[in-house]
Subunit: 452 residues, 2 copies
């Protein structure tokens, strides 16, 4: 936010009774994320619905701290005024002790609903549901429906669609509010039904839900259970948040870190290390195999030190091509463009890519050694053979990197792991050891009798 | 989609006059993305509004091919029935020749609007605008507004909000449709105004727009120009698509590829190579510096071959820690959590992280050599000194990797480049050369008089 606004808020806070009417809730939230020390004071002085909206945009850690430190009556008002989906999101981060205490603040009916939502799996659509929607019966007229909206509308987050259910609460159809407004009020809803609607299942994965929203251009979708009973609605603004969170997680994993769960700046130093150290150490232990692999070839290196010069070049080329392939495939899988069933089509493409890319690098590598040798004697008498060894190794290593990078995410998905775990550093480490073996085997074959 | 549906569609296609009423537009689009050869037949047989919806969910390349191969009258109907924002997205991918031809199919007024939208910068909010919204005047009653909705509503994509403008079309306020439905029809709109609204500017970056939507929980936002004149609206479903596209681009760049522009599977092999080869070659040329750096230390390697064994371990640890830091910072910047102004706070954190993480790896590296040496003689008499060299180098290299990885994205942003360009492979390459220098300098200092 602009610096000016920050100063204005700081100035207002000096008053006995601070008054924040001139600021939007997102401006206040921005301010509080930067100055968490003022959280309690600001939240306590906002009207309940503004306090709830502001709370919603605070970092989760701040929200939790607030709920734990504000006076009970303020917390009670906050919790009562929150939308179901936001309340579920907040409560699911708290200890079960705190949840029990907070749920007591809710009216009986809300209490049951809230606990039910908390019963769905963590990444399921159920956790995002909002039971505030308008349901109507087939025999209603448009006017009946409009009256119901007039009566209940104020407490409802999204009334783009109303839902027609039967006597057993089974979802029959959805009707766009727009349609209601442009037809005659006497029309029966049953005449407007086309029985075509898209619904999410309550146990659907949240990531799946984002792709349904993306493909169907809807701002809100109904959620049903196994029997088609309407349980609630999910709104697209939650999807934007989830898409962003899922992508953040993927990007962090691709970079070789555990997902941070919180913004970088609000993650404590301790947590930052805890998320980074394990992978770094695992990769380090894996990479130790390179030292072991190389100790097998110590004699060769002693005889032809020249071979050592190209080690970084060779292993990094394998790592780079593997990192390219793995990120392309991880992303394509996250977007649902590729599934495990496509593995053979992917493999064919990547073998071809590996050959072409490896061929290019191989030729460049060979030429570099050959051309350089006409100016200096640094690569010795057998520079053509050295060039050939490096060139062929590059072809092999890039092909192998591309293949590992593309197949690993598919394989991880197949065994139920997160494909993004096959991070760039992970693939690189895997390829490094093999790359060295390829290099020294090629060298033994090509340089035997000359350098070795 | 389920295999059964695919077969059903294929079966229907065999009929003289295929009839697709049982399928949703997203099912049809899924089918056509898999069987592009049937595109023309299916699209021609759909009612216009269903054809347009289906078209919208096809891969862009397919859309373009369709527009270029369908009979003119079908194209005319399609183009006329598209929403402005979808039409702008499609037209902006076509050659100016094709655009000129297609624009002729539009009614005069639409033609002007469409060309105006195409005049805004490619990644600006202007390109996403939809001029179909309901505008009202301050003096209207609620009933007046509802009548206007009833009259114009059918052609309007989103009527969640209506907009109050003055006689110069300046945006004064927005009113939630919900509010209109729950108050008395006689109420004046002026009594409902709070003059608080959030608007996007027409030249705002699309990525910025996603963060405004994310922070403000809105399904639709108005777009204004420098004078506050209302130009159109932008809907959240476009945001979900843009967020996903931007993240795809970032992930691909982080992996060391140019952004693909199209799904992996629909990218031609030629394009796939064109997107991957340049970076791979640039990185390869950069990495050649490692060979040059190492040739300076050829004598040291010849004297102490043991040093060569740890080269992959050392350079990859620098690369891994750099890759962790760069992806964390790139993502935090994309989400607006960090800006260039935070560089000093980031640097302090990353120096600390680098010291702790480097310290851990250094100790593990040292211990591994020390412990191993009590079982074998592979590291020679001076194994303690070798262990110390490797340990200290690891500390230095990880610190350096973390620092480069975190500062490079900030620096790139500062000079106006895309931070995601500081990909994991790029940082790794940068760190490799320096890592080798750190290693051999440490070795010269610590091993002089013993191994060297």
């Amino acid at each position: 936010m602009e610096a000016g606004k920050e100063e204005l808020i700081l100035d207002i806070l000096k008053h006995e009774k601070p008054y924040f009417h001139d600021f939007s809730t997102s401006e206040l939230a921005d301010f509080l994320n930067d100055y968490p020390e003022y959280c309690n004071r600001v939240i306590e002085h906002l009207e309940p619905h503004r306090a709830v909206k502001t709370l919603k945009f605070l970092d989760l850690k701040l929200q939790i701290r607030l709920i734990q430190t504000l006076p009970s009556d303020v917390v009670a008002t906050l919790i009562q005024n929150m939308h179901f989906d936001d309340r579920t999101a907040l409560l699911s981060e708290l200890t079960s002790e705190t949840v029990k205490r907070l749920v007591l603040f809710l009216p009986h009916e809300d209490r049951i609903e809230t606990l039910a939502l908390l019963g769905y799996p963590e990444d399921s659509v159920g956790r995002l549901m909002n039971p505030d929607y308008i349901e109507v019966k087939e025999h209603y007229t448009v006017q009946d429906a409009l009256n119901k909206i007039r009566k209940l509308g104020r407490n409802i987050e999204n009334i783009n669609f109303i839902y027609i259910i039967d006597e057993r609460e089974k979802l029959l159809d959805d009707i766009n509010l727009k349609e209601l407004l442009i037809v005659s009020p006497d029309k029966k809803l049953s005449e407007m039904m086309d029985k075509k609607y898209i619904a999410l299942h309550v146990t659907d994965d949240q990531e799946h839900a984002t792709s349904v929203f993306r493909k169907n251009n809807r701002a809100v979708l109904p959620v049903v259970d196994d029997n088609g009973i309407l349980l609630g609605i999910v709104t697209i603004d939650d999807m934007l948040r989830i898409q962003s969170e899922e992508d953040t997680e993927d990007i962090q994993k691709i970079g070789g870190t555990e997902a941070l769960d919180e913004p970088y700046m609000s993650t404590s130093f301790r947590d930052l290390i805890k998320k980074r150290a394990p992978w770094l150490i695992i990769l380090f232990l894996g990479e130790m195999l390179t030292a072991s692999a190389m100790s097998f070839f110590e004699d060769e290196i002693a005889k032809a030190v020249i071979l050592a010069l190209f080690i970084p070049l060779i292993i990094s080329s394998g790592g780079n091509s593997g990192s390219q392939a793995s990120t392309l495939i991880i992303r394509a899988m996250a977007l649902g463009e590729i599934t495990f069933e496509d593995w053979w089509r992917v493999m064919k493409r990547e073998i071809m890519s590996g050959l072409v890319l490896g061929g290019m690098l191989g030729i460049i590598g060979f030429l570099r050694i050959a051309v350089w040798s006409s100016f200096t004697h640094v690569y010795g008498d057998h520079y053509m053979l050295v060039g050939l060894t490096v060139g062929i190794t590059l072809l092999g290593v890039v092909l192998w990197g591309t293949l590992c990078g593309s197949m690993l995410p598919l394989l991880l998905k197949k065994i139920g792991a997160d494909p993004a775990t096959s991070s760039a550093p992970f693939v690189a480490t895997l390829v490094d050891v093999t790359g060295l073996v390829i290099y020294f085997v090629a060298a033994s074959l090509l340089l035997r009798g000359t350098l070795l």
